[in-house]
């Protein structure tokens, strides 16, 4: 009874606060853009915005996958290492395929296909170990994080793997070319985001993710195949990592032990800034995308000013992340007053 009356009382306020919750990340991003513009009008130049969007694509695509994992109550710490390992294997395989497939599009397609298979496989391993192996997702992915990172170091002999120069020529447009005024990686980002949004908000699978994240036991009794859905979220995550890798490799044509370092934390940060709940049960793809854009914009703005000491970049990033999340919690005052 108590909860029912409380809910009734909160209702009008809740609607208002939900609006603000959705708007929070958007407002934060808008604010950042205004600051950027005030610092230097070149911030809104076409070139800079294109750079910004393209850069956001890596973290953004990975974060879309992370939204599913986190919504279903899991976590994936292995994505950065996974991206590095997949890049490494792609480069080695494509370099070796030159003799048989040449340096044209077939080799690139072969490399991309392989990346997708590897991503799905790696995601499946994380998922199966979590569900069938009954190991905490944090531990499983902490383990695979170390494995993938050391694999890329081993493949590269501690150095850097470089893509064959002629293949790089064929593959380069995937990162550097534009279609209808937008760079290709941005199109991939948009595509992944739309698919992710539809999957989470318009399918039974999306509802299952949310249900499992909010209460796994109840979901199980509701005849949801919890293990399969959870494994699928990790596979989606792996697939997203593959897509990010496919557009990452043509950028510099290389992979090393320093590739993708801390991407997992950036992806998780993007998801949380976007309003998804870290302990699961509530996910927002739109917010995740804004979160990824916010993170990249912070870095970009810091490069646009020399007012803040170089050493404090991390502090500024941390502060802005925390403020962005606080903005979403702007309903806390209302809930409090309602309780009184």
């Amino acid at each position: 009874m108590m909860t029912a009356s409380e809910n009734a009382g909160v209702k009008p306020a809740k609607r208002w606060s939900v609006d603000l919750k959705t708007l929070g990340p958007a407002l934060a991003l808008l604010l950042l853009c205004i600051i950027g513009f005030l610092l230097n009008p070149a911030f809104v130049s076409e070139g800079n915005l294109a750079n910004l969007l393209t850069r956001s694509a890596f973290i953004g695509i990975i974060a879309v996958g992370a939204t599913f994992v986190i919504t279903a109550g899991g976590i994936d710490l292995s994505v950065g290492s996974m991206a590095a390992a997949i890049s490494g294997v792609m480069i080695i395989v494509m370099n070796n395929a030159v003799d048989t497939l040449g340096t044209g599009i077939p080799t690139v397609l072969f490399g991309c296909g392989l990346a997708i298979l590897l991503g799905i496989g790696a995601g499946w391993i994380n998922g199966a170990l979590t569900t069938k192996g009954k190991i905490e997702a944090f531990i499983v992915t902490l383990g695979t994080m170390g494995i993938y990172r050391s694999l890329v170091t081993y493949f590269a002999d501690g150095g850097t793997l470089s893509l064959n120069f002629d293949i790089r020529g064929t593959y380069r447009p995937v990162y550097y070319d534009s279609f209808l005024g937008l760079p290709i990686p941005v199109w991939v980002f948009i595509g992944v985001a739309i698919c992710g949004w539809l999957l989470l908000n318009r399918t039974a699978f999306g509802r299952y993710c949310t249900a499992i994240g909010s209460n796994e036991a109840v979901a199980k009794y509701s005849a949801i195949n919890v293990d399969r859905v959870k494994t699928l979220t990790y596979i989606i995550q792996g697939l997203c990592v593959s897509f990010a890798t496919i557009i990452y490799v043509p950028r510099l044509g290389s992979a090393s032990a320093s590739t993708g370092v801390l991407w997992e934390l950036e992806a998780i940060a993007a998801v949380i800034i976007g309003g998804t709940v870290l302990k699961g049960g509530y996910g927002r793809i739109g917010g995740t995308i804004l979160g990824a854009l916010i993170l990249t914009t912070i870095g970009n703005i810091l490069n646009f000013t020399d007012m803040i000491s170089n050493y404090l970049n991390g502090t500024m990033q941390g502060l802005i992340i925390i403020v962005a999340v606080l903005l979403q919690r702007s309903d806390w005052k209302l809930t409090k007053s309602n309780k009184e």
Partner: protein, 318 residues
């Protein structure tokens, strides 16, 4: 039966170990401890250490070099203990992961009576090492600035991409700024690119959006320089005599210099091969008839098209 067998096995192993120790006793044992490669420069160092081991052991059959790499300062401290207790080394060549945490472990090795050579990163307490071998960070900054001054004129603009915020980075950067002062060259801004290609690419993209007129880039490091060049080419601003100065001596960059690359015309040496120099010097502390102890600071040589070939190691991973 079983007990007797085990005892027998133990006795045999003990005998073998004793025989091994006796055979090895007349060998000069030198432990070489350095970090496991987490970036390309360190991978180059590993490679050069292995090359030096092969070469020196062939040259001096009575010298035994024991190479150990460790993934973190704690593991390196344990590795040093093992080198003393298990291998009973006569000398140690150590490139410390970090100065502070490894000072005491190295001091303990010193107490066992071993000769100590410290490479690259110094210890936080003076007087422990017999020999110090290092690259020259301030010189790297200075030589880069001198090259800039030679190529640019009064009023030209440059940007600086720094490494990871560390003492090494500060030494390089401060020396560069001191040398460039009063030359009339404007340093528009400096940002950390963390000795990393991706960061080099992104920071340079932002510099290009922010500053319409940049004449040259000091990237401080070859990995950063590769990212910078990709950003310059993307923005189509790689013409008009624009050039980038990196540092370290990566094989791809050296190859480019040999082939007459205009965008990266020179490099400033900070060689991963310094570990080999240190191993050579340590062996000569036992083999030479001259004094070896002291400081051995390598030059930060400017690598140009003329001398590039002598710094080119195509087999090395760096």
């Amino acid at each position: 039966m079983l007990v007797r067998k085990t005892l027998g096995a133990l006795a045999v192993t003990g005998l073998l170990a004793f025989a091994g120790a006796a055979a090895a006793a007349d060998k000069i044992k030198i432990g070489v401890s350095y970090p496991t490669p987490t970036h390309a420069w360190a991978a180059g160092m590993n490679w050069h250490a292995e090359q030096a081991e092969k070469r020196l052991e062939k040259l001096y059959p009575d010298v035994d070099l024991i190479l150990v790499n460790s993934p973190d300062p704690g593991a390196q401290a344990s590795a040093l203990e093992d080198l003393v207790s298990v291998h009973q080394i006569d000398a140690l060549v150590v490139l410390p992961f970090e100065s502070e945490p490894l000072t005491d472990p190295v001091l303990n090795v010193k107490k066992s009576g071993a000769w100590i050579t410290v490479v690259d990163r110094g210890l936080s307490q003076p007087g422990i090492e017999d020999l110090y071998v290092a690259g020259n960070n301030p010189e790297l900054g200075r030589v880069s600035a001198q090259y800039m001054k030679g190529r640019l004129k009064d009023g030209d603009n440059i940007v600086v991409l720094r490494g990871i915020p560390t003492v090494i980075d500060n030494e390089r950067f401060d020396a560069f700024m001191t040398e460039i002062e009063g030359s009339g060259i404007n340093v528009l801004d400096h940002k950390h690119a963390n000795w990393n290609r991706d960061d080099g690419f992104e920071v340079m993209q932002d510099f290009l959006s922010r500053f319409p007129d940049i004449d040259a880039v000091w990237a401080q490091d070859d990995d950063i320089a590769i990212g910078v060049v990709a950003a310059l080419k993307q923005a189509g601003r790689d013409g008009n005599g624009m050039f980038v100065v990196g540092g370290a001596g990566m094989k791809e960059i050296i190859k480019g210099i040999m082939d007459g690359d205009e965008l990266i015309p020179v490099d400033v040496l900070y060689p991963p091969a310094m570990i080999a120099t240190a191993m050579d010097a340590t062996v000569s502390a036992f083999k030479s008839n001259g004094p070896v102890a002291g400081r051995y600071i390598l030059g930060a040589t400017l690598i140009t098209r003329e001398n590039a070939e002598s710094y080119y190691f195509p087999e090395s991973p760096f």
